[in-house]
């Protein structure tokens, strides 16, 4: 069921099982048949913990989405609300409960996820329904196992809350989650951190530990090190377009709770005798995790290396199917048949990913072809074949250049080219009314790479944006300024070039096919956050004190006492295990980079990744906008 959780270095299935056990216990508390009313937002995260079958085993017979009005009729003994502690949801629940049928009373329960809240209970009381509940409970779902090496709190607005609203409740949840993790996997002896929020989380953990001093867990520590990183230490990385396979899927289609929805055209199954079947109109929904062998193999590759990998796989599978011709004896046939299910799964997985790769290519290809041709022209020493005459080149230009153009501008900014003046590309994009989020992403990137924009440049961008997209976006621009994504240049020197050089954030010749450095995930740019992680493991942060001082927030090291007798004796050559926690979100490309480090032969460290949420530039900027749903071009 959850095979993807076993394959990592740390068995995260323990965490999942613990979560399932709590869920079962709660369900059994409400004895008899029951219907669950879901806060729709929670179905995604819960899907990572349990399937419907588990609920069914515990007499859940019906499930509804939380809506105003009455709960649809269902002949069950219990009604259970699964909700986030949000006041607006309390009003709906109150309405639901109040319109319950008084002649056939049902037991009503409420389960708050991740925590109960005094305010919500107060609101229910105000509405006069608090006494109707038989059980009011909380279900602590802090860190959800997402994949074999990945934990997420699935807390969408965490960055906004921490850095914009100054509400650090999600940090409290993070600390709680880490305590819970330590209860299952042992005390983590070493804690490193960088940033204000990291400091807070570490402080809370130490405090909580003091408070529970009596209940030491007698478990051999699984993790050697915890690294807490603030997202605002590295504001640049999420703004860049991710170029790994998984990253691009997320950039283009968006992955939510481990699922992606894709346009259905490419997935129409052609079966014999079903000619003329109508194309499906519902988007195709696919689950993406390492349980799928092929996906685990290709997801972290640079997209340019995916085609070759798929083609290789196709040959292997073809060959495997051809084997049946060689199967002569009964034994051989039997063996072939026994492998069939696996082969068919592999075949359908290959079909899916070939289709996805094609979809991505549709968006990126023309511009890449154009790019290749441009380079051929530039490198005049090459004997240009006739087909690549200028005319051919130009026919490509007319195709979508968008992807390539914005990629070029991104890379110019990251290498520090022309970051101090108005970019004509951004100007043009505004004139063409490209999506506002795209514009904001680029402008913020320029600001971050220049350690703030010249006042004149900033004012110009602001004016253009407000005039083209509407004055109400004053609010959004203000928000971006508050979190530091957009700022006027201070008198301080632009220290980005120093940071870039010291941490080797830009690698000229990134090898995408057979990478030898993490910079392959952005085709040249090595994510700052992951560089910090890499340096911490070897040679240590002391070597980069200067750069650490330039980045916001304190950096620190703490040690936690491990009960005697539980000290790990490391075998020679055994890798260390580090948990990297991104406060404010992590991108798929950063995850890919960390996985790359884990798999490097002489790295000596394996990484488990935790985050408040999996983000990309678009979802991130969106979370910082005021009224983003309204009037987005």
């Amino acid at each position: 069921m959850a095979s993807h959780l076993f394959c990592g270095r740390v068995n995260l299935n323990i965490l999942r099982e613990a979560a399932r056990k709590d869920l079962r216990e709660f369900l059994d508390k409400c004895s008899g048949s029951k219907a669950i009313v879901w806060d729709e937002y929670l179905t995604g995260p819960f899907g990572l913990i349990a399937q419907y079958s588990l609920l069914k085993e515990h007499e859940v017979e019906k499930m509804f989405t939380l809506k105003a009005g009455r709960i649809p009729s269902a002949a069950v003994k219990n009604i259970v609300f699964f909700v986030r502690p949000r006041l607006e949801l309390m009003d709906i629940i109150a309405e639901n409960v109040a319109s319950e049928d008084k002649l056939q009373p049902r037991d009503v329960h409420i389960l708050f996820v991740p925590r109960r809240s005094l305010l919500c209970e107060q609101r229910l009381k105000e509405k006069g329904v608090l006494n109707s509940f038989t059980n009011i409970d909380e279900y602590i779902l802090d860190l959800i196992p997402y994949d074999g090496d990945l934990l997420s709190m699935e807390s969408e607005s965490s960055f906004r809350e921490c850095y914009l609203e100054n509400d650090q409740t999600s940090l409290y949840h993070a600390a709680k989650g880490l305590m819970n993790l330590q209860a299952l996997y042992g005390t983590i002896p070493q804690i490193f951190g960088k940033g204000e929020c990291a400091r807070h989380v570490a402080n809370m953990m130490l405090r909580m530990k003091r408070e529970f001093a009596g209940s030491q867990t007698q478990i051999l520590p699984v993790f050697d090190t915890l690294l807490l990183l603030d997202r605002n230490v590295d504001l640049l990385t999420p703004l860049a377009t991710q170029l790994t396979y998984e990253g691009l899927i997320d950039e283009i289609f968006g992955i939510t709770n481990g699922y992606v929805k894709l346009p259905p055209e490419k997935f129409a199954q052609k079966k014999q005798g079903e000619g003329g079947k109508e194309l499906p109109t519902e988007p195709k929904k696919l689950q993406l995790n390492s349980a799928e062998e092929l996906y685990a193999e290709i997801r972290d590759k640079n997209f340019n290396a995916v085609g070759a990998a798929l083609s290789k796989k196709a040959k292997i599978i073809s060959a495997a199917f051809e084997e049946r011709h060689n199967a002569k004896t009964v034994g051989e046939i039997k063996q072939f048949v026994s492998q069939l299910p696996h082969m068919q799964a592999a075949r359908s997985s290959l079909a899916n990913h070939t289709s996805i790769a094609e979809l991505i290519k549709d968006i990126t290809t023309d511009s890449w072809l154009y790019f290749i041709l441009c380079n051929m022209v530039r490198n005049a020493h090459l004997n240009m074949p006739d087909v690549f005459s200028q005319t051919a080149l130009l026919s490509c230009v007319s195709a979508s250049e968008d992807f390539f153009d914005s990629l070029t501008v991104e890379q110019e900014f990251m290498t520090g080219v022309d970051t101090d003046k108005v970019s004509t590309y951004i100007e043009d994009c505004i004139a063409q009314k490209d999506p506002l989020i795209k514009i904001l992403r680029l402008v913020c990137m320029q600001s971050v790479c220049n350690n703030g924009l010249k006042q004149k440049v900033l004012d110009y961008y602001k004016k253009e944006i407000l005039q083209t997209y509407g004055y109400k976006h004053i609010l959004t621009l203000k928000n971006l300024e508050k979190v530091g994504l957009l700022k006027p240049q201070s008198t301080m020197r632009n220290n980005y070039p120093t940071i870039r050089k010291t941490l080797k954030l830009w690698m000229e010749d990134a090898n995408e096919q057979n990478p030898n450095d993490i910079s392959y995930v952005y085709s040249g740019y090595a994510p700052l956050s992951v560089r910090l992680t890499q340096v911490l493991a070897r040679p240590g942060w002391r070597s980069i004190e200067e750069v650490l001082k330039m980045l916001p927030g304190p950096h620190f090291e703490e040690r936690q006492q491990v009960p005697t007798g539980l000290h790990k004796k490391r075998q020679p050559g055994e890798n260390r295990t580090t948990l990297v926690f991104f406060l404010g979100g992590v991108t798929y490309a950063e995850i890919a980079a960390l996985r790359f480090l884990s798999n490097m032969e002489d790295s000596g460290t394996e990484y488990i990744i935790a985050a408040t949420k999996l983000i990309n530039g678009t979802s991130w900027i969106k979370s910082l906008m005021d009224s983003p749903e309204e009037n987005l071009p």
Partner: protein, 483 residues
């Protein structure tokens, strides 16, 4: 499959461009195609897709058995009335509550309890009919003696764990502040906010003084009030605390909730006096002026009878559109009006300080859409001191050509502007793209590029004038071709 030659590989892997190193585009493509072909060609002996290893997926593409799938499934089975998949106990319809004269919810309406807390300053008194604070006087369960005598630390811990606690003990300001500080120390937003309710009985003045020093707690309270939708209260609080700019923005944000345009305009007007930063003040002023103008324009254009409105009926109202959109609208429907009228492009351009670049782009788009090439022409005409007209553009003529082409300008018009492109490479590419044959031919002729001319000739129709022109050039012995 044709593999690239090793030396090609070497080239690609050693070449120095920044974005993507690429194997071989055609190869990539064929690889994808090939893998697709391979997938399709693999014979499936057993067509049953439902083996256990493969996740079952329903018609909607949701994996069968996932929670979100099941929610839909159970919900839809209700709607369709078919409940066969689930055990059914009783199907007699329950008594309808809808028709009864009283709603059940009205029986449970909260009774406001004056006295339990008072609004904490006069300025907030108009909102006192709402309840902002949980009733925390009574402990949740028995054992009052035990819980009412706890230290701040213990109380906070109990609050966190959801156990019985009492806040009654904390009656002096000192005690309350101690509790608040304790709550802040654990950084639990839930508890911080709850602790706040102690303060509703304290006079605002003392409160604010003490609060200045407790920034974290305060931020939580502000956040809480925002969440509760208590905008007014937040604005007052921020004002009292001297965070005037935040207050101004907070207040301004309210306009998003006002649907009626005149009320929105009046609201924006009321924002003008708020203490925004200098930039923002200008923007808010512009916002107000814009909406005010839009209301005037909308009112008159709604009943407008001019030819243009009949020929191109308006698709949507202009209200609440960005300024650039408004300018486009004005260039479309009100071009050539005198600067005195609110709806004229020149007036809008001046009032909102629109840059020349933006103005030209917008006007060009609108006039080209109407195919009024004469107006397009005059946009770029400038007279020099000798009285000659010359074409000048702040945006680069290649962009002009793009826009004209998008609005399907005829070749003659395009050709004129392609000719104006300064950069020879861009000019040639523009000419090729938009099939301005003359320009292409002349450029190649000037470059003395015989080969390209021959290539280009092949693309033309035999015996067309262009074809013949190339033919003549190629036969001209006086040209010294470079190739």
């Amino acid at each position: 499959m044709t593999r690239a030659k090793p030396e090609d590989d070497e080239y690609w892997n050693s070449s120095k461009f920044k974005a993507f190193t690429f194997d071989d585009e055609d190869d990539e493509f064929s690889q994808l195609k090939e893998s697709k072909r391979a997938v399709n060609s693999i014979l499936v002996d057993d067509d049953d897709e439902d083996e256990e290893d493969v996740e079952r997926v329903s018609w909607s593409g949701e994996p069968v058995g996932s929670i979100s799938w099941s929610v839909k499934e159970t919900a839809s089975s209700i709607r369709s009335g078919s409940e066969q998949s689930f055990p059914k106990i009783d199907t007699t319809p329950s008594l309808s509550k809808q028709g009864s004269g009283y709603s059940l919810s009205s029986l449970f309406k909260a009774k406001s309890k004056p006295g339990a807390f008072q609004s904490f300053s006069e300025s907030f008194s108009d909102t006192s009919s709402r309840t902002y604070a949980p009733e925390l006087r009574k402990p949740k369960s028995g054992g009052k003696d035990v819980v009412s005598d706890l230290s701040p630390e213990e109380t906070v811990r109990r609050m966190q764990k959801g156990r019985a606690f009492s806040l009654e003990k904390f009656c002096s300001l000192q005690d309350k502040l101690l509790l608040l500080d304790e709550a802040v120390a654990v950084y639990d937003g839930n508890v911080i906010t709850a602790s706040w309710f102690l303060f509703f009985v304290i006079v605002a003045e003392i409160l604010f003084r003490e609060l200045m020093a407790r920034d974290v707690a305060l931020r939580h309270y502000v956040h809480y009030l925002k969440e509760m939708g208590e905008q007014k209260l937040v604005v007052e609080l921020l004002k009292a605390l001297g965070r005037t700019e935040d207050m101004a923005l907070m207040h301004y944000k309210e306009h998003l909730n006002i649907k009626d345009e005149s009320r929105r305009r009046d609201f924006l007007k009321s924002c003008l006096s708020l203490p925004f930063s200098q930039d923002d003040a200008t923007h808010v002023q512009d916002h107000y002026t814009l909406l005010e103008r839009q209301i005037i324009i909308e009112a008159s254009d709604k009943k407008a009878v001019a030819e243009i409105f009949k020929k191109f009926p308006r698709k949507a109202s202009i209200l609440n559109m960005p300024i650039i959109t408004t300018l486009y609208y004005s260039c479309f429907y009100h071009y050539g009006e005198s600067e005195g009228t609110f709806s004229s492009p020149s007036n809008i351009r001046k009032t909102f300080r629109i840059s020349e670049k933006q103005y030209i782009l917008t006007a060009l788009g609108a006039r080209a859409k109407l195919k009024s090439w004469f107006d397009v022409d005059s946009l770029f005409n400038t007279k020099n001191w000798l009285g000659y007209t010359k074409k000048r553009s702040p945006i680069g003529f290649h962009r002009v050509v793009d826009i004209l082409h998008k609005n399907s300008a005829p070749v003659q018009v395009l050709q004129e502007y392609v000719n104006l492109i300064d950069d020879p490479d861009l000019k040639l590419s523009g000419a090729l793209k938009y099939k301005c044959h003359d320009i292409v031919i002349n450029t190649y002729r000037d470059l003395k590029d015989r080969q390209q001319l021959i290539v280009y000739r092949e693309k033309l129709e035999r015996d067309s004038p262009e074809y013949r022109k190339i033919q003549e050039l190629l036969n001209n012995v006086q040209i010294r071709w470079k190739n």
